[in-house]
Assembly symmetry: C2
């Protein structure tokens, strides 16, 4: 074995504080809560420094000390992570946010941030001896777990609603996953997965039902800190469905603080949702610790159509603790934001990415975002995965035409 | 002005050797040949070293000394380049190429290598004061030039065949380009562009009709050299349509050699084409210096359906000078390669990328690739941009199903 020098220590339940051993397969805590990976940061502080990162590869595996994989041989990588942070100067002028940045998770294998969770999740599944995993998906997570499973030599069973983006079907199928469609919602797919996992003893890779996906998502927070040279921005906006990304970013920043890599106040984290599916926004407005099921949810931003997230209490904690907020935008605002970003900056983002731009504009208008603050939009995926979001009409020319 | 420290000196015609000033707008040479950017490498050798690269950003702009942009303020970037090189262990075992690697150009803005040419090409167009550019495209180049033009504040006029990948239409339209479709081939689009450019005095951004796109593509060669720690692989396979990439890689390696960054023999460059459109392969087999128009061309790999490339003589020179070759594969081999790569490695490549894997297997069978040689496949784009290449059928499950 070639050690990664990981400082992962064990698994801990954030609700009942029960601990579990790292070398065993665990899904949810006995109390029903997701489990989180805990690190020995006191020990890490002695051996892992900012300077350790200097000559490392430009992927999320540069942070191996803060990831759960133990043996280098188990790392399943397609070169994911260390995505660029792009200054949005002209969109910043339009929105009066002078220091506006986009972290672009479209530039990653499979074209969405789901690759991070899959890379780390599949690597750990492989390390734990898993042979078959199963999951429900709104499309992109299934695609990511399919391709990483193929690379790892694991069997993936993926169940998605028939309305999920069609490109993601092809990704799953091309990678040789067992793919099924359901005329229903992701929650219907989830129930089939739950029954099948129990029947066959498969590994349940559903959102937050295994503890490692969040560790992959966490690297977005590590990267933002490093890419801003450890001087954190004031606000980070994140499109929130299951919320794993925002939980991960919050976890990352706390770990970096304990390590002494960063100081002072954390950025205010903002959970952005669509008006048609805004359970976290509602809970935040009511000052609650958990959300309620958001009935009849509907939005053009399919990836954040999650009526009730298993980790809602962790998302809300991250908002409260950082002085952040939750904000909803309409589908019309999302589509307008998508066009405005493309045309002013060339960044063709996914609808979820457009939602956070729209939310940032509103928060600036309300002066919740103050003049001169540094604001990061976390775009979770490439617009090319959602070719039908914008309807376009293109004129034809005759072969002998001159413009 | 904040200088990039570029060592670009002037423009030179590779056919008649006529020179042109760098600060003027030039398209083709008076003799009809494409122009190439020439660098003062003697001077560069004094100031630019391998160590200069150590702490630079992980994008193609790390090589500013060897790029043509003069002023930092003119760089138009979306974070492109420094794409990963992924070891293909299991596909290597299947194909008996033990040291097989994939450089994955799917992980780049717009999802294809065209982003490199557009980033550098648009940056230079901006630097030269261009306001409007026009080009014909088989889709991906148009998408890339549209989004970079949007970011630069330039007006882009894009003309593509109606059969071009539909996602690329949306990219152009979202970025606000003037987009037109033609019931015909890219050559028909090219004629409309030529007439319109002459009519309006627009900048002609057609392949090799401006000298800077190739400089962007060149960075693939620079990166391969650096990522292999300046110990070059034995063979590089490249899917060849217009051939700008292979010309660029060859140019990059020669510049690095003159700089003293690399030593010894260059990698053997392989131009891979589809049997349905193989003008370079035919010319290579006949030992010719130029190709002939390949009539009635047709292939599933749309990006390499180019019946006659303006830079064919430069491609062939690169093959002859490096002891490389040209190889054609069938559409059936392309589709099989696509599946095999996805299922063994998780790399969902574009059809052109699948073509080079198929070609590598054949060249290994013929022992043209020798045992133990290090082989790099240059995958030019993400499979997600070609969702209809593989036809799939997905079974449905009832909501109360158990697998």
């Amino acid at each position: 074995m070639s050690s990664t020098n990981s400082f992962a220590a064990n698994l801990v339940c954030p609700k009942c504080k029960k601990e579990y051993a790292l070398h065993e397969v665990h899904q949810l805590c006995a109390c029903g809560s997701p489990l989180l990976v805990s690190y020995d940061l006191k020990e890490a502080k002695k051996h892992f420094h900012k300077e350790s990162l200097r000559d490392r590869e430009s992927s999320l595996w540069r942070y191996k000390e803060l990831l759960p994989v133990q043996d280098e041989a188990n790392i399943v990588s397609l070169g994911e992570g260390f995505t660029p942070i792009i200054p949005l100067k002209r969109a910043g002028e339009k929105s009066k946010i002078q220091n506006l940045y986009l972290k672009d998770e479209g530039i990653i294998p499979t074209g969405t941030f789901k690759a991070r969770g899959a890379a780390v999740g599949v690597s750990r599944a492989k390390e734990l001896g898993v042979k078959v995993l199963a999951m429900p998906t709104n499309g992109n997570a299934g695609a990511a777990w399919s391709v990483y499973s193929a690379r790892a030599g694991l069997k993936a069973t993926i169940i998605m609603p028939e309305d999920a983006p069609s490109i993601t079907r092809n990704e799953c199928a091309a990678a040789g996953a067992d793919l099924y469609l359901v005329k229903g919602l992701i929650s219907d797919c989830g129930k089939i997965v739950a029954r099948s996992v129990q029947e066959h003893g498969w590994y349940d890779a559903s959102t937050l039902k295994e503890p490692y996906r969040i560790e992959g998502k966490k690297t977005m927070g590590l990267e933002i800190a490093e890419q801003f040279d450890w001087k954190l921005p004031d606000v980070i906006l994140y499109p929130t469905g299951g919320g794993v990304g925002i939980i991960g970013i919050y976890k990352a920043l706390n770990e970096l603080k304990e390590l002494g890599f960063i100081e002072g106040k954390l950025p205010r984290l903002v959970a952005v949702q669509a008006e048609g599916c805004a359970p976290i926004v509602k809970a935040f407005q009511e000052g609650k610790k958990e959300s309620e099921f958001f009935a009849d949810s509907k939005t053009v931003a399919f990836g954040i159509n999650v009526p009730k997230a298993l980790g809602d209490f962790l998302v809300l904690e991250a908002l409260y603790q950082t002085g952040g907020c939750a904000k909803a935008v309409s589908d019309a605002e999302i589509l307008e934001g998508l066009k405005e970003l493309s045309q002013t900056e060339g960044t063709f983002v996914c609808p979820e990415g457009a939602a956070i731009y729209a939310a940032a504009k509103k928060l600036r208008e309300e002066n919740w975002i103050k003049e001169g603050e540094r604001v990061v939009l976390l775009n979770t995926g490439a617009g090319i995965k959602y070719p039908d979001t914008l309807s376009i009409e293109v004129p034809y020319l005759d072969k002998d035409a001159v413009l």
